[in-house]
């Protein structure tokens, strides 16, 4: 392929694949924990980190790692303090992060906010080989955390109280997940951009769960979708000279639409999934093949009616 003859393109492609693997893997746990906005919060804070790097002429990617890790820890501590005020605290970090980023960049010698744009929406040509090493190292760390702590993180995200009553180090695991999310944000920053980072943590997961029944398979399918979006978006961006970030996110969204369509196709052709699956499976096993009129109301809403009807 001719586009691979460009060094920067090869680097960008590798960064995109790493991001496509790491972001949905972490994202599945984040979505499970109903923290879909965590990535956005960290992304905004990371902007201040980038600006700090520009101001001090150090590598923006390293300063972004440091600042976003601190931001993630702050967000997690505020979250665990209690529900009330948690979203306000997140909002404070959002706006503080953006304002701090722009202000610090203005202060930088010859700094104009245009240099932030490539961090906000991603840029293919800006991935240096040193950046690539950092990105690759972070991506390996992220995937290693998921592989080693996945079992514990699953229970943590499933039910925090049960996790605690199982003896899991709940506070450590919560911080670990937040820090891993922060590293993922930095991995994705160069390619997809800070404002759209979160999309790659959430949208491939939302698409995957249209088609899957289990958590593990959701992680796997989401990672496949993540790589497809990242590589596809990068290629489209290169072909048309577009920002890669928006192209990647639009492809991820297109995959989501396709997955939703695929799911309804499966439903109309085959068994329609709904509550009370097991009972129906047994009923079918006895040979009864009734047309299905079951409601799709969730178990919670039906439990009373179901209980009293017996």
């Amino acid at each position: 392929m001719s586009i691979l003859t460009f060094d920067f393109m090869r680097r960008a492609l590798l960064a995109a694949v790493l991001m496509g693997l790491a972001a949905p893997a972490v994202g599945t746990f984040i979505v499970q924990r109903r923290l879909a906005l965590l990535g956005d919060g960290i992304g905004h804070v990371a902007l201040t980190g980038v600006a700090f790097g520009l101001l001090t002429s150090t590598s923006p990617i390293l300063t972004a790692v440091i600042v976003s890790v601190f931001g993630a820890i702050a967000i997690e501590l505020l979250r665990s303090r209690g529900r009330t005020g948690g979203d306000v605290a997140l909002a404070l970090l959002f706006y503080g992060g953006i304002a701090g980023g722009v202000l610090l960049t203005n202060l930088a010698p010859g700094g104009d906010t245009g240099s932030l744009l490539s961090y906000l929406f991603g840029s293919i040509s800006s991935v240096s080989s040193r950046d690539l090493y950092v990105v690759a190292g972070l991506a390996v760390a992220v995937v290693a955390v998921i592989a080693i702590f996945g079992r514990e993180l699953f229970l943590l995200c499933q039910d925090e109280e049960v996790a605690r009553a199982s003896g899991l180090p709940v506070r450590f695991l919560s911080l670990l997940l937040a820090v891993t999310a922060a590293l993922t944000v930095v991995v994705a920053m160069r390619v997809v951009g800070l404002l759209l980072v979160s999309a790659l943590m959430v949208v491939p997961v939302a698409a995957a769960q249209q088609l899957t029944r289990g958590f593990r398979t959701t992680v796997g399918v989401a990672m496949v979708f993540g790589v497809l979006s990242a590589v596809g978006g990068l290629y489209a961006g290169y072909q048309r000279d577009l920002s890669p970030g928006p192209a990647i996110v639009l492809i991820a969204l297109a995959l989501f639409v396709v997955a939703v369509a695929g799911r309804s196709l499966i439903r109309t052709l085959g068994v329609r999934p709904g509550p009370g699956m097991l009972r129906r499976a047994r009923a079918n096993g006895r040979g009864a093949r009734h047309p299905r009129h079951e409601s799709t109301t969730p178990a919670s809403a039906r439990s009373d009616a179901e209980a009293t009807s017996r």
Binding site: T28, V31, Q32, R33, R34, I148, F149, R151, E152, F154, L155, C157, Q158, D159, E161, V162, A163, R164, A165, S166, G167, L168, V205, Q209, T212, R213, G214, F215, R216, T218, P273, G274, P275, G276, M277, L278, R279, A281, P298, A299, S300, R302, S303, D304, E306, A307, T308, R310
Partner: protein
Amino acid sequence: MTPRKPPVFAMTGGEARLDGRLVLRGVDLRVPAGEVLAVLGANGSGKSTLVRALLGLIPLSGGRTEIYGVPAARFRDWRRIGYVPQRLTVGGGVPATVREIVSSGRVARQSRLRPASRADRAAVDRALAAVGLAGHGHHSAHQLSGGEHQRVLIARALAGEPDAFVMDEPTSGVDAASQAALAGTLRALIGQGRTVVLVAHELGTLEPLITRCIVLDDGRVAHDGAPPKPVGEHALPGHDHVHPHGPAVPDGGPLGTWDRT
């Protein structure tokens, strides 16, 4: 039972506040090993708060509580405890299979870097079979009915093979088949000498299994002793134990209601 063994749970003067409001008002409770304790009481009387405090999930604002003789905050031997929380749905937005959820009950027994062992898988199989879900591990937990879902949560606790179980309203809103499955599971556990703390709105078919009963009223223990005997009108033929027993358990529908805590 040797007298030297510490009780499974021991709370003295337990007080707990939620959002500043006193929800437990001086609870004294010892649960010796092998006991099958029912915790009854109206909605909002503090049953869930009590069991969460017993497990150290809520810090006490007064008094103290111990698990196997160790203050709850310092207790580490969690593989001995199985907790079935009061939940409407499996948490979170991502699908998970029945087997994945039940397997997560083994986590206290597993080491980080080792994959699930044969013993782990066997324990999960036994737990699924015990609640009548053998062969259904591959189903998505999001597609379960209320009763099936409750059985999955019980199986998760069973999979860890603990000595003591804390179950918060496992029978509420559960269909007859699941009720029967739960009664069978409990009978087996009691036969093995496990300790069970069972929060319930009413006991129903579980009543013969209970060895002791406390009734909470507004955060206080209003009754502590023998389970309510089926006497008087309760002994009349045709009475089928579908309403709450005793005057201290005022409300609740035929099978109780789910309340979110």
